[in-house]
């Protein structure tokens, strides 16, 4: 099984630099994971490296398809608060 990257990726290269298996590559608009190369870091590290450094919530999915870093888990901003503030900005 493999981790994967969705289009929330901001192309910061961080995961690319830390993958022990060179499973991550730069595709045309974002980074992607080669599922044949990804080992979930088993045997190399306790935690999946890409998911441990990615700064963008929701950009990396676990093999189960869940966000490895769900909303609010990296920024500390409660998702509800973010929605409110965004709505406020749009209403201006």
């Amino acid at each position: 099984m493999s981790y994967s990257i969705v289009d929330l990726c901001v192309n910061c290269h961080a995961c690319f630099d830390v993958c022990p298996n060179d499973a991550i590559y730069k595709a045309s608009t974002q980074f992607m994971i080669n599922k044949n190369k990804c080992t979930e870091c088993v045997g190399d590290h306790e935690d999946a490296q890409c998911a441990s450094i990615c700064p963008i919530e929701g950009a990396i999915l676990t093999p189960a398809g869940e966000p490895a870093n769900p909303a609010g888990s990296l920024t500390g901003i409660p998702p509800q608060k973010l929605r409110e503030v965004m709505a406020e900005i749009q209403a201006r």
Binding site: A14, V18, H45
Partner: protein
């Protein structure tokens, strides 16, 4: 560079941009530093306000990845707080970056410093940064190199940086207490794990302090940047200032937090406020007692790209750079010539400034008690008043008093807009300009329109176009003397008014 003035002379002649002990590059504030460092700093475009007018630096974006998260940063956009280019900026490979640097250096001889500041942390994946430095050091040894970092990976590369003759390193240190740090840094990536809370802050702080010590040991200049976050680290930064100075940082630069909800940062969304101008100046003043504070930093106003202006920036896009054939040996000779004529010009201006500052000394001798007055200047550089009021995107604020003229800091006109129609409205731009000038009693510019003239007067700020193209300090001194003679600066007149910025 021409020879430095002998020491006794340097003490007599105010060094152009700074004439008081509180500016980062003045002799007083540098007194505790070894002579060799003082000399390096006084002619440094990044650290001497006056030298800043003549030289420029450029940034190349080669380092996209970051290894920590700060609450004032959103990796999706440019970082407003650390003048970090965002992930959307043109990312270059080390060899592209080197080509671009050589092309700009050959065509813009004023460019004397190349920095790597991001978009991420330049040392998070140090190879790209080091490779770029190696190539520039080899091909263009007349260019100074600098790097900015959060410090986490710094101790690992200190030896490489020293070997490549890196001129200075800027470390962003916002705290020395993990309890404070936990409110600023939600996580770090360390030893293959994402670490959070106080544990993360403790590691980061230890690495920053270790990196600082190691650099100082190896003779690399270290500047410390801090972001002032009211209620989080504002009180704490005085302690930070003491500690980093004791360890040998030569300059401490406190910057105000920039946080707006639309930035999408933790602080922006959670409504953390920014410090106001008075709070910032108060902290800078209280730190300057025991630390060299840098007030002129406007987060790289003098980027070579900025110096080039929009009209020349397009000459250095990567495809054009690739097509250029640069003979750097020849370029280096040309650069040396330009630098020596710049030095002549600087020396000439220092002499002029001395004359009018002497006149201010006269006020002191007359034993007339006068109060300090803040004045703003619109300038495009070269140390003269040469900008139209309406074109200014920032103003330089100076304080004139019987002690002389001292530089307080730049004030950016708030350009932040989220696309509301108000923004393009000439009138609201004008009122934004006027708001920026709060606390100033005069604004000196090359030219000014009638409408702003009236509104400025209404706001109690005297517009002044009489000193167009004159050196800044001399002009301010002259305006101050006029005010003194007219009795406008008498202490008795306005005892309650205290200058703030």
């Amino acid at each position: 560079m021409t020879d430095m003035a002998p020491q006794n002379q340097a003490l007599e002649i105010p060094s152009g941009g700074c004439s008081s002990g509180s500016c980062g590059s003045s002799d007083d504030a540098m007194a505790h530093l070894p002579e060799s460092i003082r000399e390096r700093v006084n002619n440094h475009p990044c650290y001497s306000e006056e030298a800043h007018h003549f030289y420029a630096r450029m940034h190349v974006a080669v380092a996209p990845a970051c290894n920590i998260q700060c609450h004032y940063c959103n990796r999706k956009y440019d970082c407003a707080n650390e003048s970090r280019p965002g992930v959307v900026s043109e990312l270059l490979t080390p060899s592209q970056a080197t080509k671009k640097v050589l092309a700009v250096a050959a065509n813009v001889p004023q460019m004397s410093v190349v920095g790597i500041a991001g978009p991420g942390d330049p040392l998070a994946n140090p190879e790209k940064t080091l490779e770029t430095f190696r190539a520039i050091y080899k091909e263009a040894p007349d260019i100074k190199l600098c790097v900015s970092t959060n410090g986490l990976a710094l101790p690992d590369v200190v030896d490489d940086l020293a070997e490549l003759n890196v001129d200075h390193v800027t470390i962003t240190i916002n705290c020395v207490d993990p309890k404070v740090g936990a409110k600023i840094y939600p996580w770090i990536y360390w030893e293959n794990k994402r670490i959070r809370g106080e544990e993360a802050a403790k590691i980061l702080i230890e690495r920053q302090q270790l990196g600082l010590e190691m650099l100082v040991e190896r003779g690399v200049l270290v500047k410390v940047n801090s972001v002032m976050i009211p209620g989080v680290n504002d009180k704490h930064l005085e302690e930070v200032s003491k500690i980093v100075k004791a360890k040998g940082a030569f300059l401490h630069n406190v910057m105000p937090l920039i946080a707006e909800p639309e930035h999408g940062t933790f602080y922006g969304v959670m409504g953390q406020r920014s410090p106001n101008k008075a709070e910032l100046q108060e902290l800078q003043d209280s730190c300057s007692g025991d630390m060299n504070m840098m007030r002129h930093c406007r987060q790289c106003r003098a980027d070579a790209v900025g110096l080039l202006g929009e009209d020349r920036g397009h000459e250095f896009t990567m495809d054009k750079v690739e097509a250029m054939d640069i003979d750097y040996k020849q370029a280096m000779e040309f650069r040396a010539e330009v630098h020596s004529s710049i030095e002549e010009q600087r020396n000439a201006m220092k002499k002029v400034a001395t004359v009018s500052l002497d006149a201010i000394g006269g006020v002191k001798q007359a034993q007339k008690k006068t109060r300090p007055v803040l004045m703003a200047v619109a300038t495009e550089g070269q140390g003269v008043i040469n900008q139209h009021f309406g074109h200014a995107t920032e103003f330089l604020v100076y304080e004139a008093s019987s002690d002389g003229v001292r530089f307080i800091g730049p004030r950016k006109v708030d350009q932040y807009c989220i696309g509301s129609s108000e923004c393009d409205d000439g009138e609201s731009k004008l009122s934004m300009n006027i708001r920026t000038l709060e606390g100033c009693e005069a604004v000196l510019c090359a030219k000014i329109g009638l409408e702003p003239w009236g509104q400025l007067e209404e706001a109690g700020i005297e517009p002044n176009g009489e000193h167009a193209y004159e050196p800044i300090e001399e002009a301010i001194a002259a305006v101050y003397l006029e005010m003194v003679e007219a009795g406008k600066a008498d202490i008795e007149v306005e005892t309650t008014q205290k200058a703030t910025a």
